[in-house]
Amino acid sequence: MADTLELEIVTPEKIVVKDVADEVQIPGKSGYLGVLPGHAPLITELGVGEITYRNSSGTQHLAVAWGFAEVLPEKVTILAETAERASDIDTNRAQQAKQKAEQKLKNGGPDLDYFSTEAALQRAETRLQVANKAR
């Protein structure tokens, strides 16, 4: 059995990550999963959250919003709407998005789309969280 995993993260625009990993953590819709080499085949939808993978060159973090993952004993493939490496995240923008969403939730009103605003808030928070880890 192989002792590493092949990891591929694909977004609509390009392949973001094609790497080898010792361990991958993915934000499944029903909770985070840790994947080690030899994991049973699994298919899951991803929620908003953070993908973490570790290999010989260190630990990497990515922020994802909605995705779909296939886990095989030797390979993890992730389809994600957006996947940003910690270093590529624009913290100012995320901060602004967070404030805007918070403001909207606070003001309420009949026009408020609670779910999408809440999701936007969550995305912004995840981004900030991931970006902070890069430092």
Binding site: P12, E13, I15, S30, I43, F68, L79, E81
Partner: protein
Amino acid sequence: MPSILDIRRRIRSVTNTRQITKAMKMVSAAKLRRAQERALAARPYAQMLTNVLKSLVSRTDIYDPQTGEPLHPLLVRRPENNVLLIVITGDKGLAGAFNTNILKAASRFLESKQGKNIEIEAIGRKGRDFLRRRYGSAAPRTADDKSPVRTTIVGEKVGVLNKVEYSVASELAERLIERYSKSEIDSVYLVYNEFKSVIAQRLVVERLLPIEHVGETDVAQAEEMSLEEKQQAIDAAKGSGVKLRPADTHEVDEAAAKFATAPVDYIYEQPAAELFRGLLPKYVSVQIFHGMMESVAAEHAARMTAMDAATSNATDMIDSLTLVMNRARQAKITKEIIEIVSGAAAAS
């Protein structure tokens, strides 16, 4: 007859024009190459998504076993009363007949849907300007709107084609899906210039909603390039580093085909039906995104061809002007010699 000086001036001006068209051709060729690379980079996601959906279709009931009704709102077919058409054109002109052809195809499609409520989403400035002049814009209609039949522009995106971003497509798709689910619209079509390679292009009208078969494009109307257009494109592609054949996607497709379809028993964290529901809307966004990217590539290719033709026309013009100029100069010299000779003859 114009003087030699006048002709020389014209030649200079045409030479300048030729320089510009030549530069524009080179720029378009470079942009086309980049657009093709981007389209290639986007392929794995689209392929994987399609494959997963296809395999999920076989694992879930998408139709209610008792009533035969589709279980997903995007699969529901309704009588077509309210049609939405997405028109993708370019933001800029000087691309030959590129924009005109798309708008012609769009008009023809609209004629075939006469008597129905038609709403248009315009992507690209050229299309928007034309359609706005013709139909005018208005707010989208709601489900209980009973106003008479009309054609209106309900949305426009301008300046998004310079750098095609997925978020633009997904935002548009989300809006369409929501309205489709509420029965505000009964079908969605997309008209754009399909681009496989410089010589394999088609003007197509594709139906996005309702989805009939996942993984198959539902083409409602298509138009191939003419032979003459192909020849021009071949000429233009020569020496500009643009390949005539479509890029080899075999390897990518093969790898993508393996996604989530390995012959093993997967653990499904969510029921297959739920996964299907989550993935299907993405399929719509991917199709729009794909259309936008192909259209951009086609636009650059069209501009490259147009500018190549302009360059060679300018060369022809310079040649013929040079000929006229030489003739004029010769005539002048001859005249002068005659004057000298007859002057000398008179003096002796």
